[in-house]
Each structure stands twice: as structure tokens, then as C-alpha cells.
Symmetry: C2
Subunit: 495 residues, 2 copies
Amino acid sequence: MSAYQELERRFRRLSNLRDALGLLRWDSSTMMPVGGAEARAEQMATLEVVCHEILTDPGLADLLAAAEQETDLGRWQAANLREMRRQWRHATAVGADLVQALTKAAAASEMVWRQARPANDFQAVLAPFEKLLALVRESAEAKADRLGCAPYDALIDQWEPAGRTETIDPLFDDLAAFLEDFIGQVVDHQAARPAVLALDGPFPIAAQRRLAEKLATAVGFDFAHGRLDESLHPFSSGVPEDVRITTRYSKDDFTRGLMAVLHETGHALYDRGLPSGWRHQPVGEARGMSLHEGQSLLIEMQACRSPEFLAFAAPLMREAFGRDGPAWQPDNLYRLYTRVEAGLIRVDADEVTYPLHVILRYRLERAMLAGDLALADLPGAWNDGMRELLGLAPPDDRDGCLQDIHWYEGAWGYFPTYTLGAMTAAQLFDAARRAGPEIAPGIARGDFRPLVHWLGEHVHAKGSLLSADELLTEATGRPLDPAVYKAHLKARYLA
Amino acid sequence: MSAYQELERRFRRLSNLRDALGLLRWDSSTMMPVGGAEARAEQMATLEVVCHEILTDPGLADLLAAAEQETDLGRWQAANLREMRRQWRHATAVGADLVQALTKAAAASEMVWRQARPANDFQAVLAPFEKLLALVRESAEAKADRLGCAPYDALIDQWEPAGRTETIDPLFDDLAAFLEDFIGQVVDHQAARPAVLALDGPFPIAAQRRLAEKLATAVGFDFAHGRLDESLHPFSSGVPEDVRITTRYSKDDFTRGLMAVLHETGHALYDRGLPSGWRHQPVGEARGMSLHEGQSLLIEMQACRSPEFLAFAAPLMREAFGRDGPAWQPDNLYRLYTRVEAGLIRVDADEVTYPLHVILRYRLERAMLAGDLALADLPGAWNDGMRELLGLAPPDDRDGCLQDIHWYEGAWGYFPTYTLGAMTAAQLFDAARRAGPEIAPGIARGDFRPLVHWLGEHVHAKGSLLSADELLTEATGRPLDPAVYKAHLKARYLA
């Protein structure tokens, strides 16, 4: 057995253990009774340690060095070896003690945050939050050393391989400058349209579930290889052969839970379409969070909030709830699903204002990590940023700097991938429709096969063979370009 | 850290990985879409290998030897070390190659059996079944060498530590001889009673589920620490903090699905009551399958099929389905739940004829393992045994020797624990009621706390501190004694 082959064997084991871990995590959020939390945490921590040991085993480093001398590797094998090295770098940059300390500090900070947010008490979380940030910083510095980049870049790199501020800054600055005027134009434009008619509930959960299943199936979700369940926050997880997506239903409003299902279906299609020949190998994994979010936003924002898709969906919605009338016509549904209004809360934001929520967090987390912004000053900086970017003054920290779990659970460097994903989605959808004239008419009749076929070929089946930038360039002719995204926003919101 | 302490650390990891494995198994039977089976099998096999490696690591053998020289161990620690050694013996008796070959042969045989049973085609399964048995035999012989017992005893020992044919033979022979006349007496006795009135369906599944939840809660199931779901065959799994039980509902008959829930609740109570101070250690685990089945049958057969409990449950049943009338009175429900009739199928058998199904399998599997019965002759031997023990001639192998999955999936030596469990249940329930005069009146008003408290103290909280025989002797004053079980049957079925 060659060194490379032995590496494949070890990474296959690692992948299977991570898949098992993924199911435990899914169960925690969907099925587990409250009393099971502590035992589950220990099961997951144990599995994480076993995974970490596989990556940090000294024998693995020797195998990597030996395999890198092997000259008979094909293109995919070489890329696989590169991705193995990448995972090894992240895992070994940080000692086991620091990993454990981080996990513990993150759990402690998150636990306090869960109380502090509803209590609107930023002071309460400050101490554990500072302790956590100190460890995040230590980890970022260690990884930066290993990767040869800045500490904040090293954090981004965990979610978005090769993601760097020097690429992201110009994209985000361009977008922020564009949106500054654009939002006002859109609000004026929408004020001149007919008012959005409300869809009056209640909407029985069982009917919402059936409708969501029907539309997810139309988009391409395969219930022989996946499940749709409920959780506090919608998410997608699982393995390519068994994708698990979730949503949450509200009796008063079906539109958000439904769109969340379509969003998660976009994630699921990516996982389903990963190269099965490279299953359980690093090169067979999804490329990163901007492409993943790109898939979900392509399905949700680009395809399913289009007038064409809503015209297809409208009669199914009417049928699902036994309703009719002007509010249930495609034009009103489209106005409802594209309504723009600046708000305080990121997860409630519309497509146009959402990037500004992200840019605010991107700037702040970078400043906090660098030590340029003291945590005690975060509430003030947050409110200043909201005023500057969105013209809103948060009345309290609950709906201000305490609103997202990310920082308080240690997920730093994640936020930018949301907006990178939105731009990626626009660019891929634009290229897909240009390349496949049957794609747009397909969506209009609820047939996503042409679109999913194109995505499968140009994105999903590539796994991690290419960098995100290379993949996008091969698929669309250029690297990430905010012009396409801005053109999409103009076409949709000012037409 | 002493050798003993290091062992505790390693077994804690092992236990957490097994708990994770248990959740994967539960999900496979309750939630997993069909398309996920292959990926799940690989996840589970990987986890099993990791567990096996922990037990067979040469360092573990050294630690066991060193710890056995340590003189400062308390009673529970010493028992824990003994149980560690026991697990190590089973794991190391059989090489990794044989373990893998067994797993593969079992999967292959089971897969063919799944087709062969509905097709009534014993010949189809014969070849993979013979291959599997050869490996089962090889494993049994290796374990017998290590344990110093006969090969069939070594198989029993996997499920029932220290279970031996020399103890079981006299119990089963006594019982078979007793039942030979007894069944006829019961059938005559029941013929003289009023006929059982049928409960006419349909019974909505949602109402069945609510009723099952209500009665399981009365018995002591804690839904903050467990779930009730549906699966093809009812089972209990999970961890003490999060017990997962299942049942299956039929629209036409609620009585079986409901009693299955109460049966599994008995299993769940055992797991919930294990000594939490010894969680994740071998001595903190349940003692074996006869005690486990003893708990489920105590709740189901002894307590919940009693006239007292059915008098408590009857109004709840009427309310659940909005029914009334003579069929829904306690006396008819009791007649229904204690009806005796010899049948072909073990899982459909009543309390009185069930042991004969087990004794048949016990005798046959022993003869097959020893080579005294060729597999090709199994159908004939089965039918002979059914005629001799139950006076019935199976019309085909589907409802004959193909009916149970156990042999075809490699679970040999398991069957006797069902009837050992039934006898254990009778003996424990008898002792409990003698010791706790408040137990019987509690059951009559749906308050199982006195019973569960007694079981907790005398069975559940003992973990694996004692052997099953020692535990039973401490709890009831004597080792397993068929006289108590026979007295129970006489009191219930001839009164």
C-alpha cells in the first residue's frame, strides 16, 4: 500500500466518524429530549477527540510527506492530497489543550449568552465572551503562523478555504457604497407599487409541511435520500446519501418556513451532487461556505423568489390552504417575497439590506480580533455601525450586538460567507441561464432538472478539486464579481 | 494515574462511542430514509472497529494485569475491573479477521433471509446460512477456549453473562413438562369463560399515541429523558439520560402496540435506573438480557396485564377512542389480554405458550451449533418440535423455521434469555409485592412509583455489581426458581 493509499484509508475512517458526529448533532437539534443534552455533549466531544487524534497522529504527518513525493498521482488524487494537507494544517496548528479550552470557553460563553440575550444584558456575557475571544485569538494566531496569513484570514479560512480580507474588502466596500443609495431608490420604487396584501392565517402546520414537501420535491429534493424536520433554526446537515434539512413553521405565516425549506434544499442539492467517486475523501467534500451558501441562495433568492417560480407556486399555495383572492395571486406573492425594508435583525432581513448586516459584523469582528475594538465598546460600535449602514438606531442590545449566536459560540470569520454566497449565487444563476436556455422555462413550470443538472456539472460534482475562485471562473468566465449581483438587484428591485 | 484509573478513562471513551453507535442504530430503525442504509452501515462499522481497537489494544491488557495487582480497590471498583476483564475476554478471543468475516456473513445471510422468508424458500438461504454458522461456530469455539466453557455456553455468555446450559436445562425441562398438561387445562378453563368480545376499530394512530404516552408516563417513563417513536419491530435503546423506545401501531388493533410500549417502558426503566455514579463504566451497565427482559416482562406481563391495572386503564382506553360498552369493561379487556391459544408465531404467542417457542429454538440452535443437526434438516426438525411441544404442524417454513431473524443475522444463544426473563419477572414481582404492600394498590390506581422504587433499589441501581443469580438471590431470597413462575401461571390462568 502506498503512502497515498494509506492516507485515503485513514481519511475514509475520519469521514465516517464525522458523518456519525453529524447525525448526533442533527438529532440534538431535532429529536433529542432536553434531558439528553449533557450525555450527548460528551458523546460528541469524544468523537471529536477521536477525529482530532486521527489528524494529529505523528504517523499521518509522515504519510503526507511521503505521499507528496509520490509521482504517480492523478489530478484528483493530487488535489485530494492537497486537501488532506490543508485539514492537517488546521488540526495541528492548535494544540489539544487549546482546542479543549476553546470548546469549553465557547460552551460557557454560549450558555451565558442564551440568558443574556432575552435579558438584554450585555454586561452579563462580557466576562466569558472576553475569555472566549482571547482563546479564539490565540487559535487564530497559531493558524495564521501555519497558513502564512493574517489571524483574521486564518479564521475565515476555516469556513472558506483561501478566503482572505484582501479579496473580500474591495467586494464589500463596493457593495456597501452601491447599497447606500440603492436602498433608498428601492424603497421609493416600492412605495409607488400597489401595497402588499397580507396572507391571513392561520395555516395548519400539516398543510404547510405537505406544501413544503411538494415544492422541495419539485426543486429536486429526494425523500428517499433525505428528511425534512423541524428545529428552532432551519439548517441542513447529513451525508450525500441521507441529507437532513429542517425548517420551523409558524401558524400565522407560512411564507418564511416555506422559503427556508427551499433555501435548505439548495444546500441539500449540493451535498447530494458531490462526486460519489470521491466520497469520504477531502477532495469529495463541498468547497466551502460561500459556495454552499451560494447554492442555497441560488435556489431560494435567485430561483424561488422569481416571478416565474411564484407563478408556478401560487396555485399550489392556494390549494394547500384552500384560499383564493387577490392576495394569493402571483404578483402579490412576488411583492411580498421581495419587499425591502431596513430592519434591526439579520435573519429577518430582505435580500437587499442583508449584505449590510453582514458587512457590519465583518468589520466589527475583525476589529475585535485585532484588539482595535474593546469588547466593552461593542454595543456602542454596533449601534454606530447600524446608524451608518442602515440608518437605524437599535433600541437595545437584544436586537443589537446580542442578536446572533456566532460570536458567542466561537464561530468567528463565518459572517462574510453569507454575502460572498449571495454574490456567488447571482453569478452562477446568471451564467446558468445564459448557458442553458431551458433553465428559466423549467423553473417557470416547476421543473428544476435543467438548473440542477447545470449546477451538478459545474459546481456540485467538482467537490474540492478547485478553489472557489477557480471553480467560479471555470463556471462563469470570471472570479467573483459584484457587478453581476448589483445587476441582479437592479433588475429585480427597480424594474 | 493508577492503572485502574487509566482503565476507567479508556472505558469511558469506549462507552461514549458505543452510545453514539446506539443512536445511529436507533436512527436507522426509526428515521433514516431507505437511501441512507449503505452509508449508515459504513459509519456503524467504522465506529465498531474503533471500539474493538480500544478493547484489543495491547496496552489495555497490560493495564488490566497491573490493575488486578492494585490492592486499594473498593467493592464497586473491583467489580468494575472484573467486568472490564470480561469485555476484554470476549473482544480478544476472536481475531479482527474473524470479526469482520462474521459481520459480512451475517449481513449477507440476513439479506437473503429478507427475501427468502416471504418467498417461503429455505433452500435459498441455506448456503449463506451455512457459511454464517461455520463462522459462528468458529467464534464460539474461540470464546469457549477463553472462557473455559462449552461453545454454546460461550454464545449465551455474550447476552447473559455466566449463563450456562447446565443451569438452563433443568429450568427449561421442568417448564416444558409442566406446560405439556397445563396448556390443555387453560384452554379448557377459558372455554368455560364468557367469550372474548372484540374491540372494533379503526383506532386513529394519533389517539393510540396519546394513550400510549399517558400510560407509559403512569408507569414511569419520563419524556424529558426519552422518546417514543415507531419502527417495524418495537425495541428499546438509547442511554440512561435519553432512552428511546418504539412501537408499531395498527389501525385495526390498538392493544398490541400499546402493550409493546409498556413492555419497552420496562426496559427503559432499567436503563434509567442504572447507577449514575458508575455511568460509562462496565459495572454501571445492565447485568444481562435475562434481567433486562425480566424488567420489560415484569411491567408488561406481571403488572400491566393484571386485572388491577386493566381496571385502571379501561376508562382511559374508552376515553382515548370515544368508545364504550361491554367489550370495553375491565373483565373483557383482561380476558383479551390473557387469552391462550397455541400458534405458529413466537412474537404473536401468549404468555403461556411463549416458553415452548423459546425451548424449541434453544434445543435446535444447540444441536445445529454442535453439528448434531444439519442445517438442511432444520425445517423437518422444526416441524417435529412444533408438533411435539405445541401440537401444531407448520404449513410452511415462512411461519416455521424462517420466522425469526435471530439465527440468520448471527444472534445465536439469545433465545433462552426471553424465557429466563419471564421467570425472572415473575420472581421479582412476587418478591416486590411481598416486600412492599403498597405496590399492588399503587398499580391498581396507575401509580407505579412504589414498584419502580423497589426495582430501582433491588435491580436497576445494582448495575453489574453482582451476577444475575446473586442479584436475584439478594432481591428474592433464592436463585431463579421455576416454581414461582408456575405458580403465577396457575394463579392467572386457572383461577
